[in-house]
């Protein structure tokens, strides 16, 4: 048993437990806090994958951005703040669907012939390569500019939806 495996198992268990609490806890605010916990565990898994930039993005966008917005949305909708507005309907059938889906996926993954060891070690300066590829016309220039348009649409659309009349 390697140390890395041990860390992975602990973090994975915490992540799954936190994710389950997200979809089942009775108070939505607690669900949001569990969501943050599971996002944080995903960041640790990225560190195990030697992608510190992705881990940073996970903290920066998911926790610092999306989770903050979710919490604020919970706080501005009074309905969601009280204890039992979070009603679960047809929980059993949903659980059966989710578990069988997981069974199919896990079975497929186990059947596949996947590598057990990563390829060559990550070189430290893959990040400048990513930056150069984002503005390279032969690389990801179009998605990069489209992201900017998307963000502008989000900015205008969201402020339009939420403006005071």
């Amino acid at each position: 048993m390697y140390l890395g495996q041990l860390i992975f198992l602990i973090v994975g268990c915490v992540m799954v437990a936190a994710a389950i609490r997200v979809v089942t806890s009775h108070r939505i605010f607690h669900a949001a806090l569990w969501l943050i916990a599971s996002f944080f565990c995903v960041a640790i898994v990225y560190m195990l994958l030697e992608s510190p930039f992705m881990a940073g993005i996970q903290l920066f966008i998911y926790i610092g951005g999306i989770a903050v917005l979710t919490v604020v949305a919970i706080m501005v909708t009074k309905d969601a703040m009280s204890a039992d507005s979070r009603t679960v309907s047809n929980g059993w059938s949903a659980a059966i669907v989710a578990i069988s889906l997981f069974g199919v996926m896990a079975w497929t993954i186990v059947q596949l012939d996947l590598p057990t060891e990563p390829g060559m070690p990550v070189s430290g300066d893959s990040l400048p390569l990513l930056g150069a590829a984002l503005v390279d016309p032969g690389g990801y220039l179009l998605p990069f500019e489209v992201v900017s348009v998307l963000l502008t649409v989000v900015l205008i659309g969201a402020l339009f939806l939420g403006r005071e009349h």
Partner: protein, 105 residues
């Protein structure tokens, strides 16, 4: 650091996260919780992307480029989804999906 963790472990973790998200979307009636479950599913997808990128082509940046573009889409989805949720809350005074009937004349 990564030594000894096979790729399949990461994929199974991602699958578990995805299925919990599916459960959340199917079982909950509160819009905000559904949004949170969708975020879990998207996160599982990005986890898979990063794991594949690390194991299959560590020297190239395709996986990372895909992952951050998925992040941008996820953020856009969350922002607009939550903006809609709050807008619905302000007109309908509810965030339970069965009580939302804006399209009924």
């Amino acid at each position: 650091m990564i030594t000894g963790i096979p790729l399949s472990w990461f994929l199974i973790l991602g699958a578990a996260l995805f299925c919990i998200g599916v459960f959340g979307v199917l079982a909950n009636r509160n819009l905000i919780v559904i949004m949170m479950s969708v975020e879990l599913m998207l996160n599982a997808v990005v986890l898979n992307l990063v794991a594949f990128a690390r194991f299959m082509e560590p020297a190239r940046i395709t996986g990372k480029a895909f992952a951050i573009i998925v992040y941008a889409t996820a953020a856009a989805e969350a922002a607009l989804g939550l903006a809609l949720t709050v807008a619905i809350w302000r007109t309908e005074n509810t965030v339970t999906i069965e009580e939302i009937d804006l399209l009924q004349g």
